[in-house]
Amino acid sequence: MKKIIFILIFVCSLSVVFAQQENTQYIHKHLLRTDASVVAGYLFKEGMNNVHINGSTEYYLDNKISIRGSASYLLGSSGLTKDSIGLKDFHSIYLGGAFHFPTKGHFDPYVIFQPGLAYTSSYKSGRPALTSEDKQTKQHYPGALTPMATAGVGFNYYFQRFAHLFVETRYVYGQHLSAAPSPISLQELRITFGLGFNLFIIKDKKKIPVA
C-alpha cells in the first residue's frame, strides 16, 4: 500500500513539474512511441470475455496525425456461443492512423481508425470431464483469415522525457467464418491502459537568433 502511495505521489509530482511548463503542445513531428499492454475485451454479441496482449508502435507525422501499427495475441477466452462454440485463436494485426486533438501541454487525446486482419479459429465444446483422468472433448475447426476494423478513443500523458501513460478504449468489428456450425461475431469492446515509451527520433533544428 505504501508503495502504491509513493508511486502516485511520484507521478503527481512529475505532473506538477510539467504543469508549470505547459504552454506549448508537447507532441510534434518525429515522435516515436511504443507500448505493450494487457487488453480486456468483451464480445458483446456472444457474451464472451477475452484477454489479449497488445503491442503498438506509433510515429507522429506532425502534431495532429500519426501512423500506428499494432499486433494483439489472444491469451485466453472464456464463454461459449449458443451453439457451444468457443474461440481458440484471435490474433490480429492492425495498421492505421490517429488524429490528435491539439492541446497546450503534455496531454494528448486522440481518435484512432485501424483496419486489420486476424487469424481466428474456434472449437466445439463437447461433454465435460467426468473424472480427474478424463479430458473434456473438443472438436477443433481449421483457422481462417478474418478482416477486421477498429475505431477508438484514448489519450497519452507524456509525464516524462522518455515515458508516458496511456488509456484507450476501442470497438472492434469482424466475423469469424469457418467450418464451425455458425459464425462468431467478433464485435468486441476493448479497454487497456499502461506505460509506454517515447522518443523524438529526429531532433528539431534550433533556430539561431539573428543578431
Binding site: 486489420g116 478482416p147 467450418a179 464451425a180
Partner: protein, 215 residues
C-alpha cells in the same frame, strides 16, 4: 477542317494548361481501407480489409492501385472469400486542391482481377473462380490535414466470365446451401463501399523541390 477538329479536341487540355502549375500532381499516397460488399446476387453482405497506393498524375487525375480481401457469410451455411487486385482512375471535376478541412469529390472507373471461393461449412465442398471485373463509382476525400485524408467511395463492380452462385434453400424447415458455377449473363455484380485512410508521403516528380530551388 482537320485542324479545327484537333483544336476542338485539345480545347479542354489547353484550358487546363492555363491553370496555375499546381502543386497537386506527382504525389504518392499510401493508405489502408475497410470494404463493405452489398447488393450481390446471393443477397449476402461481406466485409473486408485492404490497402492501396495512389499516384496523382495530373492536378485533376489520380490513380488508385489497390488490393482487398473480403469474407461473406452465406446464411450461416457457407462462406465466400473474395480477393481483388486492381486499379482505378479518379477524376476531380470540381475542387481538386488538397487543403485541410476541404472535401474533394471524384468519379472513378477502373478494372480488377478477382479470385472468389465459396466453401460449404458442413462438408468443406468448395468451388472457386478467377475472373476480372470493371468498376465505376463516386467518392470523396475529406482532407483532415494538408497531407492526410479519409476517403469514402461507393462503386459498382461488374464481373465478367464465370460466376459462383450460392443459394440457401429450405426443405421442411431444414436449410441447405446449393453452390454452382455458371456463366455470367448480363450484368452480374455488387456494390463496394470503402472507407480509407490515406497519407501523402512524397512528391514523385520532385517538382516542388525543383521549383523552390529555381525560384
Amino acid at each position: 477542317m482537320n485542324k479545327l477538329i484537333l483544336f476542338t479536341l485539345l480545347l479542354p487540355v489547353i484550358s487546363k494548361a492555363q491553370e496555375p502549375l499546381d502543386k497537386e500532381s506527382g504525389y504518392f499516397q499510401l493508405g489502408v481501407r475497410n470494404v463493405m460488399s452489398a447488393f450481390s446476387d446471393d443477397g449476402a453482405n461481406g466485409f473486408g480489409y485492404g490497402g492501396q497506393f495512389r499516384i496523382r498524375v495530373l492536378n485533376r487525375l489520380n490513380t488508385d492501385w489497390y488490393a482487398d480481401y473480403i469474407t461473406t457469410d452465406i446464411g450461416g451455411l457457407a462462406r465466400k472469400e473474395d480477393l481483388h487486385i486492381g486499379w482505378s482512375v479518379l477524376a476531380y471535376p470540381f475542387n481538386y486542391h488538397t487543403s485541410k478541412g476541404k472535401i474533394t469529390p471524384y468519379i472513378l472507373a477502373g478494372h480488377c482481377f478477382d479470385y472468389s471461393k465459396v466453401t460449404r461449412n458442413d462438408d468443406g465442398y468448395a468451388l472457386d473462380k478467377l475472373s476480372s471485373a470493371v468498376q465505376v463509382g463516386l467518392g470523396m476525400h475529406y482532407n483532415i490535414t494538408d497531407r492526410t485524408d479519409i476517403s469514402l467511395t461507393a462503386q459498382y463492380m461488374m464481373h465478367t466470365g464465370k460466376d459462383i452462385h450460392a443459394e440457401v434453400e429450405s426443405f421442411d424447415g431444414l436449410k441447405e446451401v446449393h453452390i454452382e458455377k455458371t456463366q455470367v449473363s448480363g450484368i452480374e455484380g455488387h456494390m463496394l463501399i470503402n472507407v480509407s485512410l490515406n497519407v501523402r508521403l512524397f512528391d514523385m516528380w520532385d517538382q516542388h523541390h525543383k521549383r523552390k530551388k529555381t525560384s
